[in-house]
C-alpha cells in the first residue's frame, strides 16, 4: 500500500464568473521513502496539489472531488483538528522563499521548540537540545549559539536550512517541498537539494519534490509526475520519462534540460503558453501547442494510458 494515494483529486475556485477548475482528476501515489518529483510550468497546479493534500487550500478554493488517502486513511474528509495534528507531525512542508517563511519576531530556537512541543511530549530543555541537534544536522555552524538568533541574522541559504529543520523536526513520514531552491542563489541550490535528499534518506522520509527544474528531478527523484494545466500529463520512473517521454509535452520539457546529453531527434522548445483556467480547450488541454496533434485530441480528453514504462495522458498511446 502506498504511503500517499491521491485519487481523482479535483480542486475548484468558485468565482463570480463561474467555477474555475484548477485541478482536474489528478491521481498519483507516493511510496514510503520514495521521492516523487512534480514538474510543470508555473500555474500548472503543483502548489495547489500540495496544499490540497495537507488541507491548506486558500479560500474560496475547495476539494470538489476525489480522495486523498494517507497511511491507508482518508484525510480529505478530516475536520480541522485531526488534520492539524497530521500537519508537521506526519506530513511536513517546505516552502519556496526562506526570506519570508520564518516569523521575523521569534528566534529560530523558539520556532523549532514550539513546533516539536506542539506534536511531542518534550520538556523545554529536551526540546532545546533536540533543536540544537536539528540545526547541527542541517549544517548551521555553532548551532548551540545560533539557536537564539533571529531569522534576519541568517543568510538565505542558512534560512532554508532552518526551514528544512522546521519541516523535519517532528519526524514526518512525508515532506512536501514546494520549489525549495527556486528563490535561492544558484550556487547554493545543489547544497540544499543534497541536504534534503540526505536527511530524508536517513530518516526514510518520502518526498514530494515540486520544482520546475528538470535537472533537479533528474538527479534526485525516483519517479516524476509532469503536470499541465491542472492535470497530470505523464507519470513514471525518472529515467524512463527523461529518456523516452511518452507525452509530447514531457518531450518538450526534457528538451529544455541543458545538462542532459544532447538529443537531436527531440522536438524544439514548445511554442505558446499554458491556457488560463477560464479558457481550457476542448479535448486534450495541450492540443493547441502539440506538434503531434490529430483529430481525436481536439474532441476527447485523454486519461492516463499505459505508454511503455510510463503512463501518459495522450491519444498517441491509445490502443483501441
Amino acid at each position: 500500500m502506498a504511503l500517499l494515494d491521491v485519487v481523482d483529486l479535483t480542486v475548484e475556485f468558485p468565482t463570480r464568473r463561474g467555477v474555475l477548475r484548477a485541478l482536474d482528476r489528478v491521481s498519483f501515489s507516493i511510496d514510503a521513502g520514495e521521492i516523487l518529483g512534480v514538474v510543470g510550468e508555473s500555474g500548472a497546479g503543483k502548489s495547489l496539489t500540495g496544499a490540497a493534500i495537507v488541507g491548506l487550500l486558500e479560500r474560496p478554493g475547495r476539494v470538489a472531488g476525489g480522495q486523498i488517502l494517507f497511511e491507508g486513511k482518508r484525510i480529505d474528509t478530516l475536520s480541522a483538528e485531526p488534520l492539524r495534528r497530521i500537519r508537521g507531525r506526519r506530513i511536513g512542508m517546505i516552502f519556496q522563499d526562506p526570506l519570508t517563511t520564518l516569523n521575523p519576531l521569534y528566534t529560530i530556537g523558539r520556532q523549532l521548540t514550539e513546533t516539536m512541543q506542539t506534536h511531542m511530549r518534550l520538556s523545554d530543555s529536551e526540546a532545546r537540545t533536540k533543536a540544537i541537534g536539528w540545526l547541527d544536522r542541517v549544517g548551521i555552524p555553532a548551532a548551540a549559539q545560533r539557536i537564539d538568533a533571529y531569522p534576519h541574522e541568517f543568510s538565505g541559504g542558512q534560512r532554508q536550512r532552518v526551514v528544512i529543520a522546521l519541516a523535519l523536526c517532528a519526524d514526518p513520514v512525508l515532506v512536501i517541498a514546494d520549489e525549495p531552491t527556486t528563490a535561492l542563489d544558484v550556487s547554493i541550490q545543489a547544497q540544499i537539494i543534497t541536504l534534503l535528499k540526505d536527511l530524508t534518506r536517513d530518516h526514510g522520509t518520502a518526498v514530494m519534490l515540486i520544482t520546475h527544474d528538470m535537472g533537479v528531478i533528474a538527479e534526485t527523484a525516483d519517479r516524476v509526475a509532469v503536470m499541465y494545466a491542472g492535470r497530470i500529463a505523464e507519470i513514471g520512473p525518472v529515467a524512463a520519462v527523461i529518456r523516452h517521454p511518452a507525452h509530447p509535452y514531457s518531450d518538450g520539457l526534457m528538451a529544455s534540460i541543458p545538462s542532459l546529453e544532447h538529443r537531436v531527434d527531440r522536438l524544439r522548445q514548445i511554442d505558446g503558453a499554458m491556457p488560463r483556467l477560464d479558457a481550457i480547450p476542448n479535448g486534450c488541454r495541450f492540443n493547441p501547442r502539440c506538434p503531434r496533434v490529430f483529430d481525436r485530441c481536439t474532441t476527447e480528453q485523454p486519461e492516463l494510458l499505459d505508454a511503455g514504462a510510463t503512463r501518459a495522458a495522450c491519444w498517441l498511446h491509445a490502443h483501441d
Binding site: G92, F95, T100, T101, P104, L105, Y150, H152, E153
Partner: protein, 323 residues
C-alpha cells in the same frame, strides 16, 4: 540602548523649542494682558508699571529666553483669571485628565484588540459584520453627541451612573488624586471613559483587523499552519505579535490626542481636568494657562513618541540589530 534614548531626547529639543516659541508668542498675539489685568479704567502710569512688572518692556528674545527659563523650572506665571500660579492649577487638574485618558485607552485597547483579532480571523461571520458596522458608528459619531446620548440613557433614563463630575477623590502622594478608591469614584469615571475611548477603540479594532488580514496572508503564517501549530498560537502569538508595531504607533499617537482633546469629553461631563481648565481659560483669554497647556501637551507627545520607540525596540528584533 541609552544612546538611543539620548538621541531621541536630543531630537525632541527642537520640537519643544518651536512649541515653546508658539506658546510664548501667544502672549503677544492673543489679547493684551495688560488691559486684561489692569482693567478698563487704569491710568497710563499704572499700565506702564504693570507692563514693567510683567517684563513686557524687554526686547523680544530676552522675553523669550526668560519665558523658557521659567518654564524649565515649572514656572508659567500666574493665571489672569484666578491669580494663582499656573503650575499649581495644572498640577491640580493633571491627575483627573490622565486618569480619564489612561482608563479610556486601556478600555479601548482591551476591547479593541480582541475584537480586531476576531473580525480579522472570522472575516465573514455575522458577529464580525455586526462589529464592523458598529465600528462605523463609533468612528463617525461626534464625541459630544456620544457623551450626551450616554448621559441620556444611563443617567437620565436609567439613573445608573452619575452624569457629571469626578465623584469623591483621595489624595495620593503630594499632588496626585485618584477616584479609584471608591465605588462612587469609579462609577463617575465609566461614562466619560467610554465617551473618550470609543473612537480609539473602534480605530484600534479596525486597524488590528486590517493588519491581521495582511499578516494572515504572509508566508510565515502559512508555514506555521503547515507545521501544525495550534490556531491559538498562530492567531494570538505569531500573527498578533506581527500586527503590534503599527498598532503601537497608532495607540501612542491616539493617546496624545486623547489627552490633548479630552476637553470635549471633560466639558460634556464637567470633568475637572486640564481640558475643562483650558476651555474656561480660552473663554477669558487666560494666556498663561493656554501657553502652559500647549507646552505640557507637547511634552506629553514627545514622551509618548519616546515610549512608542522603546516599544518597537522591545517588539522587533530587526530594529534592535540595526542600532
Amino acid at each position: 540602548m541609552f544612546g538611543f534614548i539620548g538621541s531621541r531626547l536630543l531630537q525632541a529639543i527642537p520640537v519643544l523649542l518651536v512649541v515653546g516659541f508658539i506658546a510664548f508668542a501667544l502672549f503677544d498675539y492673543v489679547g493684551d494682558p495688560v488691559s486684561i489685568l489692569a482693567g478698563q479704567d487704569a491710568t497710563a502710569a499704572q499700565r506702564l508699571a504693570l507692563s514693567h512688572d510683567l517684563g513686557l518692556d524687554q526686547p523680544f528674545f530676552v522675553q523669550y529666553g526668560r519665558f523658557l527659563w521659567a518654564a524649565l523650572h515649572g514656572n508659567f506665571g500666574n493665571s489672569y483669571r484666578v491669580a494663582q500660579p499656573v503650575a499649581n492649577l495644572l498640577a491640580e487638574r493633571l491627575p483627573a485628565t490622565l486618569e480619564l485618558a489612561i482608563t479610556a485607552s486601556v478600555l479601548a485597547f482591551a476591547i479593541g484588540v480582541p475584537m480586531g483579532v476576531y473580525t480579522g480571523i472570522h472575516r465573514d461571520s455575522f458577529l464580525s459584520r455586526l462589529m464592523m458596522a458598529g465600528s462605523l458608528i463609533g468612528v463617525s459619531l461626534p464625541t459630544f453627541l456620544l457623551g450626551i446620548l450616554l448621559i441620556l440613557a444611563f443617567s437620565v433614563g436609567l439613573g445608573w451612573l452619575p452624569s457629571f463630575g469626578r465623584g469623591p477623590v483621595v489624595h495620593v502622594g503630594s499632588w496626585w488624586t485618584t477616584g479609584f478608591t471608591s465605588w462612587a469614584g469609579i462609577r463617575s469615571l465609566i461614562l466619560p471613559a467610554i465617551t473618550l475611548g470609543m473612537f480609539q477603540m473602534t480605530l484600534i479594532m479596525r486597524l488590528v483587523r486590517a493588519e491581521m488580514l495582511e499578516v494572515l496572508r504572509t508566508d510565515y503564517i502559512k508555514f506555521a499552519r503547515a507545521r501544525g501549530l495550534t490556531d491559538r498560537s498562530i492567531n494570538f502569538g505569531h500573527a498578533l505579535k506581527n500586527t503590534l508595531v503599527p498598532v503601537i504607533t497608532i495607540i501612542g499617537l491616539q493617546f496624545g490626542g486623547i489627552v490633548a482633546f479630552s476637553l470635549v469629553t471633560e466639558t460634556v461631563f464637567q470633568w475637572p481636568g486640564m481640558g475643562l481648565l483650558l476651555v474656561q481659560s480660552v473663554a477669558v483669554a487666560d494666556i498663561p494657562v493656554m501657553s502652559a497647556y500647549l507646552l505640557l501637551i507637547a511634552l506629553v507627545f514627545v514622551m509618548i513618541n519616546l515610549i512608542v520607540d522603546l516599544l518597537y525596540y522591545a517588539v522587533d528584533p530587526r530594529l534592535r540589530a540595526r542600532r
